[in-house]
Structure formats: structure tokens, C-alpha cells
């Protein structure tokens, strides 16, 4: 891998990021509803409104505000929450561990079960177990997350009382949200692992490996899985990026105090700086993960050379 490739990939990501900041910035500013009025309530005097507007820099033109915005980002200052009067970086820092915990748990669950199940169905393709698992994955992908979460709460919290209905705390709080969130990803990983493995298992080098008397275990994990790894790693990375910013629904259903819940509250209270920061954070996470995946490609498959 040449350093040229690395530089051009990083530059590309920065261009995308620049477009993104502008889009986000422009988008939240055309939101109908005056944030200052929402913040101060109906009782505020015009003078108070004017003063608050000035305090937050909302009296400047859009272009000037965007300039300030970029300058502040460069200094690591993402602004102050309109609603909570705290630096948004603090709010995000408080919510991030919860979301990371949830994302890691559900990715762990999905990969831990999904990859072995995908290999199994690929090896036994055409069998009864293959068709049962493949149908189950379609079921898993069709389950609407928010409803599935509610069904799990009804069964395991309300009826059986095994787990708490919502909130965060010990591991028992983590079980239902993690299961809810991982259902879709698990199904996706099974299907993808299966198709990647089926593709690889018909290749000549796998037949050669078998012919020279290697054990099935070495053929599967040494030869086949290694070559099927690229699409699997890609989807794991992309899903992880999605979970960081996109677990809005699961976090809402379980009142899980993470980034997703923070985002929904920011949208409902028209908290521009907070919403901006969250969207930026998820985009940066996504772009970084994409970059890492691209770099991983050449490690996993020496045939890929980036010029």
C-alpha cells in the first residue's frame, strides 16, 4: 500500500466531510420554529429574545455563522446546547459510553453467532438446516426494530419479569436492547457470510487444499474464511458505524441514555448545535470506519494493490 493511496483516501474523506458539514449546517437552519422562542417560552420579552439571539450568534448572516462554525470545529469547540446550556461535547461525552456499550454488545452478539451460522449454512447448503436458517434470516430482517423491542419487553419484562423494561445500569439492562438491535445485523451477517463462503468454497484452491489432504478445519478456516473475509469485515464495519449514530429507535424504546436518544431530543427541541454535533460525529465515525476497511482490504487480500 503506497502512502499516496492513504493521502488521497484521507483527502477524499475530508472533501466529503466538508460537503457534509455544509449540508447539516444549512439543513438545521431552515427548520421552522424559532429556537430562541422555544427556549425562553411565551413569557419572554422582546429584549430578552434579542439578547439571547446575540449571545448565540443567531443575529449574524448564515454565511458568517457557517464561518464561525468551521472555525469552532477546528478548535474542537462544537458549540453550546441551546436547551441544556452545556457544551455539546460534554453532552456527547456523557452519552457516548452508553451507545458504545450497546453497539459493541450487539455487534459482538451478531458476529459471534452470525459468522459461525453463515459458515455452517454454506457448508451444508441445500440441507434442511440451511433452508430453516435462511428463512429465519428473512424473518429477522423483516422485524421492525421498534415493534420487536416492544414485543421483547412485553414477554421478558412485563410477563416474565426477567429483565428491566428500560433504562441503563447493570448487564441485565443491556440484554434486551442488545438483542433487539442485533437481530437485523445478525441476519445480515449470516446471509453475507453464507454467500461469501459459498462463492469461495467452489474455487479451485479450495479443491486443491482438500485434494492434498488438509483437514476440513484447515480448509474452512485457513483457506476459505480468510478469502471470504472482505465482505464480512466490510459489513461489520458499516453496521458498527450505523449503530453509533443510528440506534435512535432502540435507544428510544428502551430509554437507553445514548447518542440516539440525545439526537431525538435535539430534534424535538430544535437544539441545532447539539444535532449538528451528533450528525457530524456519526459521519466522522462512518468515514473513519470506511477508511479503515479500505486499508484492511490490502492486509486481508495481498492481491489488492492501491496505486
Amino acid at each position: 500500500m503506497s502512502s499516496n493511496f492513504l493521502v488521497s483516501r484521507v483527502l477524499q474523506s475530508l472533501v466529503v466531510l466538508a460537503g457534509l458539514t455544509f449540508l447539516v449546517f444549512a439543513l438545521v437552519r431552515v427548520v421552522p420554529g424559532d429556537p430562541v422562542r422555544l427556549l425562553l417560552g411565551d413569557q419572554a420579552t422582546p429584549e430578552q429574545i434579542e439578547q439571547t439571539r446575540k449571545d448565540f450568534g443567531l443575529d449574524e448572516s448564515i454565511i458568517v455563522q457557517y464561518g464561525y462554525f468551521l472555525g469552532d470545529i477546528a478548535r474542537g469547540d462544537l458549540g453550546t446546547s441551546l436547551r441544556q446550556r452545556q457544551p455539546v461535547t460534554d453532552l456527547i461525552r456523557d452519552a457516548l459510553p452508553s451507545t458504545l456499550k450497546l453497539a459493541l454488545a450487539s455487534i459482538g452478539l451478531s458476529v459471534g453467532i452470525g459468522v459461525p451460522l453463515g459458515i455452517l449454512t454454506a457448508v451444508k447448503r441445500g440441507s434442511a438446516i440451511d433452508s430453516v436458517v435462511m428463512s429465519a434470516t428473512l424473518f429477522g430482517q423483516a422485524l421492525p426494530t421498534f415493534w420487536w423491542g416492544i414485543v421483547l419487553i412485553t414477554i421478558f419484562s412485563v410477563s416474565l419479569r426477567w429483565f428491566p423494561t428500560s433504562g441503563s445500569g447493570g448487564w441485565e439492562h443491556l440484554v434486551l436492547p442488545a438483542v433487539t438491535l442485533s437481530t437485523y445485523v445478525l441476519a445480515l451477517i449470516v446471509r453475507l457470510t453464507r454467500s461469501a463462503m459459498v462463492e469461495v468454497l467452489t474455487q479451485d484452491y479450495v479443491r486443491t487444499a482438500r485434494a492434498k489432504g488438509l483437514s476440513e478445519r484447515v480448509v474452512l478456516f485457513g483457506h476459505a474464511l480468510r478469502n471470504a473475509a472482505i465482505p464480512i469485515v466490510t459489513i461489520i464495519g458499516l453496521q458498527f458505524g450505523n449503530l453509533i449514530g443510528g440506534a435512535v429507535i432502540t435507544e428510544t424504546v428502551f430509554a437507553w441514555p445514548g447518542i440516539g436518544l440525545l439526537a431525538l431530543n435535539a430534534i424535538n427541541s430544535r437544539d441545532y448545535p447539539l444535532l449538528q454535533a451528533i450528525v457530524l460525529l456519526s459521519a466522522v465515525t462512518f468515514l473513519t470506519i470506511n477508511l479503515i476497511i479500505d486499508l484492511l482490504y490490502s492486509m486481508l487480500d495481498p492481491r489488492i494493490r492501491h496505486g
Binding site: V28, P144, W147, N242, I249, L264
Partner: protein, 302 residues
Amino acid sequence: MAEQSSPALADSAQASEKPRRRSRFALVFYRPKVLLAVGLLLLIVVVALLAPVIAPADPNQQSLLDRLSPPMTETAKQKALLGTDQLGRDVLSRVIYGSRVSLLVGLFSVVFAGTLGVALGMCAGFFGGFIDTLLMRLVDVLLAFPFVLLALTVVAVLGTSVVNVILVFTITSWVSYARTSRASVLALRDTDYVVVARALGASSMRIVTRHIVPNMINPIIVLASFEMARIITTEASLTFLGVGIPPTTPTWGAMISDGRQYLRDAWWIAAFPGLMLFLLVLSVSFIGDALREVFDPRSVPR
């Protein structure tokens, strides 16, 4: 795309392919689970179309005396087969009317986003250069957003209504069609039969409509069916979060949101619309999966 492997005389090759294609189609679609999915989807479409005829009650008719009646209860007016909600509205009637919004949003969003995406993707692939670079960077930017977060933000900007929700899905989901059709055009642009057609003096318009579109449409159809499943789910999710369809319209998402408050005493409010949503999305995905198998020349239907 079976045609791609038979170059030169695309038109006559296409004609001779037809019987084989039909048998592939039959092989995949005559399986019990696929037939079941098609039947279920048709049933939901018919129910949605005939909602005013078959719904036993007005979906918005409140009756506080009958609130939270369990399924199979005789209420003042009629038998509530699936019970009533917290305002005494008939759950069955609301489930029936709710199918209309899900299908409407799913269908229109896919048609609009698909048309926009295919048009832009083909322009990018066909003309290349600056248009291509600009469009593909825009695609990158939109793909870097988590989808739900993006949809939430745009609905918050535009306000909640059926039209706005369709608009949101159109402007957020055209990107995957654009990517797919651009890739197809790039692959097809330099095939022998397109080069021959151009050498014979065919206009760009003729090349696109006669040679490129017919050969790229299959992956788009498969993509559209999976997008439809995803959009139906996302619409219900947004409505559930309170930022989708306004609460005056009966929707599955809003019913599940109502039912969430009464899980302990009235499980049926959230259970039935959720089940319908699940079945609708499931049948659309099964059909999408079947179509993928029909169109994928490498898969062997069993």
C-alpha cells in the same frame, strides 16, 4: 442479466432468451413460500383498496365507554374482533386503514426515488466528467449519514405529512439506485453491441432506451423491492417516534406508539399493527429475494 453474455445482436438474442427466462421465473415463483408471500401481499393490497367496504367501523370513531376492550369483546356498536384502543377506537378497522399509508408511502417513495436515482445515475455513467464527479461526491455525502437520523432531520425541517414523508424518502434514498445504475451504464457503455449500434449511427436516445435500459433494469427491480421493505419499516418507525405521519391518520406506527403505553393491560393495541407490518415487510422481502434469484444468472433455481 442473461442478455449480457450474448453480445452483438441484442434484440434477437433477447427474443430467444424468453422461454428460458419464463421457466426460471416459474421455477422460483412456484415455490410454496414465494407463492404465499405473493398471496399475502395481494391480500394486503386488496384490503387497503377496499378499506371503506370491509372495515367494521370508522377507524377514528372514539367510544370512551368501550376503551381498552380485549379482542372478541361485544362493544356498544359491533363486535371488536381485535379489541379497542385507549380511546375506544376499533383496532381491526385502524389496522385495515393503516395498510393504506404503508403501501402508499412505500410505493410512491420507491417510484420517485427510483426514477430520480436511475436518471441521475445514468447521466453520471453516460456523460462522465464533471457531472459524474459531482453526483458521486453527493452520493458519498448522503451515504455518510445514518439513514434514520437523516430522515428524522429532514422531517423535522419539512414538518409531518404523508407528502413530506414521501419527499424525505425520495431525497434520502435515490442514492442506491444512482450507484447501481451508474455501475451498469459504465459496464454496458463499452460492450460490443453498444459500440456497434453507435457505429451504425444510432442516436444516444436510441442507445439508452433500446440497449442500455433493458439490460440494467433487473438489478434495479431487485433493489426497489428491498428498498420498499426498508421504507415501509422506516415510515412506521418515524411515525412511532412522532415525526412521521400526523396522528390524525390511522397508521401502524402510531398504533404501536399508542400501544406502548398500555403493554401491561392492553397488549393487542401494539401487537396487531406490528404483526401486519412484519408480515407486509416479510412478504415484500421474500418476493425481492425470489426476483434476485430469477435475475441472477449464477444462481441455480432448485
